[in-house]
């Protein structure tokens, strides 16, 4: 069965995504298009989110960004990407609900625009070989990452985590996360904590790496003017082995808290305050109300036409930035505002009043229609960005759900004022984090 390639022909007419199983637990999607002038390769390793592995997985993306057996330091990696016509190679950690993702990406110019006769064949081959070398042949001896690269990147990661406090909005978002989730793994920052990173060793990160290459679900997306017949032979050279398939459970859900939890923190050298709120808005993964939730969020604070933007910012000048975001994967709706410290209370009060107005159905029909048009516009515009298209494809692979574009658009356009007001009843404030400037004597 191992070498047996199953082809699941999608029954959908638009946005057809053909998923090819290379090995159990390893899938390839080739998305042929001539729209863009690039070729993009992305490899995603997905595993359940665990507090114990977050830091090690973050550090291994740092290590494999700057070293491999064949390219032992940053300089060698940089030289190789220059030779690949200025290709952009990057590694990232992301999460979707309670799954943790390590993603390797390469973007390079499509050969036909390079004015170079030999670029075509060797560039594609070189790119896949390079990705294989970086991902599967790390700079490892005796089951441990190279000590000096390890120490250097460990410090880089510590610097990055330490530096988060300098970005007040990101810092406040991290504090809100810590406060909101009950599961320790969910509370963690995506990069882990300094304490955990310090405790890592070249051997422990190698063991996290081993677990990633042998056990994680792997999805590979190739996007550009190529076909699967170009790609399959190149992937034959990759050490892709079958893995036990325990389907991942990406959607995270937690019970409702009886009361709002809140923390206020003060910091010196700050002129503006940051207010962050988290509301529960949790739907079953396939609940058709998810389309209503998208509109509810856009109406509340997720668009320039929203109540928070139009009333709190524009009409009342209470905040310079204010927006909301709904995450289906975690079941939370969050609000972030940057504002003057003497306006926090007033703004907070107004935010709650705007939500109340939505619950009471106090929604202008023409605004709702405009918001639906905007949401559809944003959705369709994603098709003009390779990154958005690949992100969408990865989430489709993860959730095993693919809503065709026309169905998505129709579902959004069908949302009514009553639907929004009804769903808003389920929105409950759970946590509040406020960052204030230290009072000046």
């Amino acid at each position: 069965m191992d070498d047996y390639i199953t082809k699941i022909q999608s029954f959908i007419l638009t946005n057809t995504m053909k998923k090819i199983q290379l090995k159990p637990g390893v899938h390839l999607v080739v998305m042929p298009t001539k729209q863009f002038k690039t070729l993009n390769i992305a490899v995603d390793f997905a595993a359940p989110l665990l507090a114990s592995t977050t830091s090690a997985r973050a550090l291994l993306t740092y290590l494999t960004a700057v070293s491999a057996q064949k390219y032992p330091n940053q300089q060698a990696v940089a030289q190789k990407t220059i030779d690949l016509y200025g290709a952009q190679y990057q590694t990232d950690v992301t999460r979707f609900g309670q799954t943790h993702h390590i993603r390797y990406q390469l973007q390079m110019p499509a050969p036909i625009y390079l004015n170079s006769a030999d670029a075509g064949y060797h560039l594609l081959t070189d790119a896949f070989d390079f990705m294989r070398d970086m991902i599967f042949e790390p700079l490892v001896t005796d089951k441990a990452f190279n000590q000096s690269v390890f120490l250097q990147e460990q410090q880089s990661l510590i610097n990055e985590i330490d530096g988060l406090i300098d970005d007040k909005k990101r810092y406040a978002a991290l504090k809100l996360r810590e406060l909101t989730y009950s599961l320790p793994a969910m509370q963690r920052p995506t990069l882990g904590t300094v304490e955990d990173v310090k405790a890592l060793t070249p051997a422990s990160v190698y063991s996290a790496y081993q677990s990633m290459v042998t056990s994680d679900e792997i999805n590979i997306i190739v996007f550009g003017d190529v076909s699967e017949t170009d790609i399959l032979p190149l992937l034959d050279k990759w050490p892709l082995h079958s893995r036990t398939q325990q389907p991942l459970q990406p959607f995270y859900r937690q019970g409702l808290r009886p009361a709002t939890v809140e923390i206020t923190e003060t910091q010196a050298n700050l002129t503006q305050a940051v207010l962050m709120l988290a509301y529960q808005l949790s739907l079953a993964p396939d609940d058709p109300q998810r389309f209503t939730a998208v509109i509810l969020n856009a109406l509340f604070g997720g668009s320039p036409l929203s109540k928070l933007f139009a009333n709190v910012r524009e009409k009342s000048s209470l905040a310079y930035t204010i927006y909301s975001r709904w995450q289906h994967d975690t079941g939370f709706l969050t609000v972030a505002a940057g504002l003057a410290s003497d306006k926090v209370e007033l703004a907070d009060h107004m935010i709650q009043a705007e939500l109340q107005a939505i619950k009471q159905g106090n929604i202008k029909r023409e605004i709702l229609e405009a918001i639906k048009t905007s949401v559809v516009n944003d959705y369709l515009s994603q098709q003009d960005s390779p990154n958005s298209e690949m992100t969408l494809a990865f989430s489709r692979l993860l959730t095993r759900r693919e809503t065709p574009t026309n169905e998505w658009v129709n579902a959004i356009m069908a949302v009514s004022v009553e639907d929004v007001a009804q769903l808003a009843q389920a929105v409950v404030l759970q946590t509040r984090f406020t960052l204030l400037p230290e009072a000046v004597e």
Binding site: Q75, A78, P109, I165, Q272
Partner: protein
């Protein structure tokens, strides 16, 4: 209608200047879903004094260009921004040192949105009341930047490179300067810098050029706008006095910016786009991630991937800059200084490195063409009248000798100035 073909890039550009002077640039991309349009005036935060029809000089307080940008959205009976939302379009605007741009993108209602863009930018409405309200909103925007250490470092560098110049002022101005803005000033600026012959409309994406051009023509024919002579007067630049400035701020690691102010007159006669392309490749050859210099400092923990270099030519302001986050800023300063002093030896015999960096830069330029916004905004259209495609074509004509000549121009008698932000 002028038509330019870029065969290698498989792009074409249609240009037309209307009778009233409005320049229209159209780049059709049939296989895209959305269309992006941007209306630009070459009026930015550096424009601080001007004359209309040779009459007396009018001074512009710092922050006015940005203030006007915000204000233009607000009309007597409607909010122009909201109207885009109602059409389903995604709108925005921005102000830089040398331009102000108003833009939107959409997959639907393109023609209605385009007419709205032209109408709201060309129909000013400024009142005492709306100006007072805006002073509150922008006041908060200025505060927000004050909490951003990267912004403080960037401005700090500009302030020591170009003391008391418009470039050293925050684009948004200060509470004090924007309080001096009056409706009359905004109307005068609008009359001068927003008249059709000052404006360029770029359209990129999915649209039918003929229909759209007819629509624009028709729209402009309905407007009668006075054609006036305008002169923007540049400020005399002062000589810098400080080599190093340290500011204390609550940052985890020190942040440092280093700069070299270039006064070379030979540089001013060069094509700005070409100079910029050469400068970028030169910076890569000297300080890029593939150099021994970089790897050596990286291994010692003196720099990390946050290290950046940049080269800017903005009218009379020409400078090289370096940015890093490091406790070892003295070592970094010495390393940059040393590398510059030895530039001849470092660049010698590097022809093949130059060729590969040129190829890589070409590849990066091509990757940028994926985005309609980049095509419209990442060329040198406003400063040097070269679009992004021209820029990519110019790049391919560069030679190793160009790099050496340029290094001779900028690396002689270098004074490295520094701004350091630390606890």
């Amino acid at each position: 209608m002028k038509e330019q073909h870029y065969q290698q890039l498989q792009e074409h550009v249609l240009t037309e200047t209307l009778d009233n002077g409005l320049k229209v640039v159209m780049i059709p991309k049939e296989n895209y879903h959305k269309t992006f349009a941007v209306l630009t005036t070459p009026f930015g935060s550096l424009d601080r004094h001007f004359k209309i029809n040779n009459s007396e000089v009018i001074d512009i307080p710092s922050g006015t260009a940005h203030f006007l940008e915000h204000k233009l959205f607000e009309k007597e009976s409607e909010d122009a921004f909201k109207r885009f939302g109602e059409l389903g379009a995604d709108a925005n605007a921005f102000t830089t040192a040398y331009q102000t741009s108003y833009l939107f993108s959409t997959t639907d209602n393109f023609e209605l949105s385009l007419v709205h863009l032209l109408d709201f930018v060309q129909t000013p409405y400024f009142s005492l009341q709306t100006i007072a309200k805006e002073q509150g909103i922008i006041g908060q925007e200025i505060q927000m930047y004050e909490d951003d250490p990267n912004w403080i470092v960037y401005m700090g560098l500009l302030q020591i490179l170009y003391p008391k110049s418009p470039l050293a002022d925050d684009i948004a101005g200060t509470q004090k300067t924007i309080s001096k803005i009056t409706p009359q000033l905004l109307y005068n600026i609008h009359k001068a810098f927003y008249q059709p012959k000052q404006l360029t409309l770029q359209i990129v994406g999915h649209f039918e050029p003929k229909t759209v051009l007819a629509l624009i023509r028709d729209n402009q024919a309905q407007k009668s706008i006075e054609d006036i002579q305008v002169d923007s007067l540049a400020d005399q630049l002062e000589i810098p006095t400080k080599v190093t400035e340290i500011k204390h701020f609550n940052v985890v690691r020190p942040k440092i910016a280093l700069g070299i102010r270039l006064e070379n007159t030979n540089l001013k006669s060069m094509d700005g786009t070409k100079a910029g392309l050469i400068a970028d490749i030169l910076a890569d050859m000297m300080f890029g991630e593939q150099t021994d210099w970089y790897q050596n400092l990286y291994n010692k923990g003196i720099i990390d991937t946050e290290f950046e270099t940049s080269f800017d030519i903005i009218r009379d302001y020409q400078f090289v800059s370096f940015f890093s986050e490091t406790t070892e800023y003295e070592a970094l300063t010495a390393a940059i200084q040393n590398q510059i002093e030895n530039y001849k030896a470092i660049l010698s015999g590097q022809e093949s490195m130059f060729e590969s960096l040129k190829r890589a830069t070409l590849g990066e330029g091509i990757q940028r063409l994926n985005s309609l916004e980049s095509i419209a905004l990442r060329g040198d259209d406003v400063l040097f009248n070269h679009n992004l495609f021209d820029k990519i074509m110019l790049l391919q004509a560069l030679t190793y000798t160009d790099i050496l000549d340029f290094a001779n121009k900028i690396y002689q008698n270098v004074t490295l100035q520094r701004f350091i932000l630390k606890k």
